[in-house]
């Protein structure tokens, strides 16, 4: 008699999932306006003076949204992110699919890294990539290590098979001295 029970439970769970889908599947080509994150919201270490600051806004519009992440993946290729970071494994630039974040792994950190550039070779793309596209790329970068909800993460590309696609990547728990992103997967 466990069958109806189970079915009911899974149906309920799925109902919740599908409601969440409203946001996840929205396709807003103009991008979503993101509140001012500013440098104040970004930290690059885990050491704080006094109490730790509250985390910055989560921008679920971007990293919970399949369309934006997918656009981010497209832009990651178009804007040559992949020629330095490969498909996440790294090349000239560091790998993006592992659990180490040199300059912070929150969406805001990645956004800042793309805009500002970093001293050891990361170019600055300020003025070169419009704001909403930077958020999209940042969201995609987080999906590389499984930080975004599975149901919103991209599947394989019509391309050479380099690695399991983002939605199949196990979530890497960010380690080391820099803050990781919020665990959206656990919250969904």
């Amino acid at each position: 008699m466990s069958s109806p029970c189970r079915s009911a439970v899974s149906l309920a769970a799925l109902a919740v999932l599908t409601v969440a889908a409203c946001d996840r599947e929205e396709r807003e080509p103009r991008g979503a306006p993101v509140g001012d994150s500013g440098p104040a919201a970004i930290t690059q270490g885990t050491l704080y003076a006094g109490q730790p600051s509250p985390p910055g806004p989560s921008h679920r519009e971007y990293e919970g949204n399949a369309y934006h992440i997918s656009q981010g993946k497209q832009l990651y290729v178009w804007f040559n992110c992949g020629t330095c970071h490969a498909n996440g494994g790294g090349d000239i630039g560091p790998p993006l699919m592992d659990d180490q974040w040199i300059y912070g792994g929150t969406l805001e950190n990645i956004h800042a890294t793309i805009l500002q550039g970093r001293p050891n070779g990361m170019p600055s793309f300020r003025g070169k990539i419009p704001e909403q596209q930077v958020w999209e790329i940042a969201a995609y970068v987080r999906s590389l290590s499984g930080q975004t909800p599975k149901a919103a993460s991209p599947g394989r590309s019509d391309s050479l098979n380099a690695k399991p696609d983002e939605q199949r990547m196990p979530r890497e728990e960010p380690k080391g001295s820099s803050p990781g992103g919020p665990n959206l997967e656990g919250r969904q």
Binding site: R27, P29, R30, Q74, F79, K128, P130, Q133
Partner: protein
């Protein structure tokens, strides 16, 4: 009952009387050899099949309204079959089936002959154009045995009149379909495959082509202009396309070029003669010489160009050109610069 027929003939009359069949995107207004043959075949099919249809309708009409023998069985149906009538009807059926077969066979043969004829043009191509469909625009490359004499343009194809042109069709994203009804039927562009078709324009003119396979968000606004021109004008045009972009002539344009090369534009577009050489979006080296903008969405004009750059997502929602945050001054400069790229 024959309302369909009446509406049909009305429609056709309409089509013939009004500029209906004429048009920049009409299969019934052929301007090329293949489209001509196909249109001919179409009228032939239409004639034959219209007769068939009329026969069926007449049969139906008579069957429904002819006078009846009465009273075979007062209350119930006449379940007793009459041999004579059955035999006659069976004869009719046989004749009908044979007739259908004969018509079908004839039409198949005609269709095959036209198909062969159209294909015969393939080997006679003198020019090769490579068309790559992208979501949602057309990249057009004129190939030449001397690599430096090949060039790229976007969303427009110019053809010399009377010269068969091989069109090599490719796609890097999803399936599209290349269709210029006035010149020829459609051929799909399929990722992982290379298709070919041949175009030949019999007369000068400007025609409109459009993607005919559903390709996502902006399938509706993925058109291209096809311009057939005399050989000498075509050659002149070709030479002009081979030249690098003109240097900006005035301060506004110069400032616009600076903006172009330092803002988001340079991430996606190519302008020969500058450092802009990205291939995400259309090659803009001679953008101001093209008839339309945004893959046939807007006719080319300075105003439309400004509107398009200012908010491409309003004009063509979901297309890959983002909203950039250019200041009005910057926008003016970029527009002035691009408008100088004849």
């Amino acid at each position: 009952m024959s309302r369909a027929l009446r509406i049909g003939s009305l429609g056709l009359a309409l089509c013939l009387a009004l500029p209906g069949c004429q048009g920049v995107q009409s299969a019934l207004d052929p301007a090329g050899h293949q489209a001509g043959r196909i249109a001919g075949l179409w009228w032939l099919f239409l004639g034959v099949l219209a007769v068939v249809y009329l026969v069926v309708l007449a049969g139906l009409l008579i069957a429904a309204s002819r006078p009846r023998r009465r009273g075979v069985l007062p209350n119930g149906p006449s379940f007793a079959r009459e041999e004579r009538i059955e035999r006659r009807l069976t004869g009719g059926l046989t004749a009908w089936a044979v007739g259908t077969g004969a018509i079908i066979l004839t039409l198949t043969g005609l269709s095959y002959a036209v198909d062969r004829d159209i294909l015969g043009l393939t080997d006679k191509a003198e020019l090769e154009i490579e068309v790559t469909a992208k979501q949602w625009w057309w990249q057009v490359k004129y190939n030449d045995p001397v690599p430096s004499r090949s060039f790229e343009t976007a969303n427009e194809i110019r053809l010399p009149v009377g010269v068969p042109v091989r069109i090599v069709l490719k796609s890097q994203d999803v399936i599209h379909s290349f269709w210029v009804p006035n010149l020829h039927g459609k051929t799909d562009l399929i990722p992982g495959r290379v298709n070919e078709t041949t175009l030949v324009a019999d007369r000068e003119g400007r025609f409109r082509g459009q993607c005919a396979e559903f390709c996502g968000f902006q399938h509706a606004n993925m058109a291209l202009d096809v311009v057939a021109m005399p050989r000498d004008r075509f050659d002149a045009w070709r030479e002009s396309q081979l030249s690098p972009a003109a240097a900006p002539a005035d301060d506004l344009a110069r400032q616009g070029q600076q903006v172009f090369l330092s803002a988001a534009c340079v991430m996606c577009h190519t302008i020969h003669g500058t450092t802009a050489a990205s291939r995400v979006g259309p090659d803009l080296t001679h953008v101001a010489s093209r008839p339309s903008l945004a893959a046939g969405t807007l006719p080319y004009s300075k105003g439309n160009l400004a509107g398009w750059i200012a908010d491409p997502q309003r004009i063509k929602p979901g297309n890959q050109m983002p909203i950039t945050s250019l200041s009005p001054d910057q926008l003016q400069g970029v527009v002035a610069y691009l408008d100088s790229l004849k």
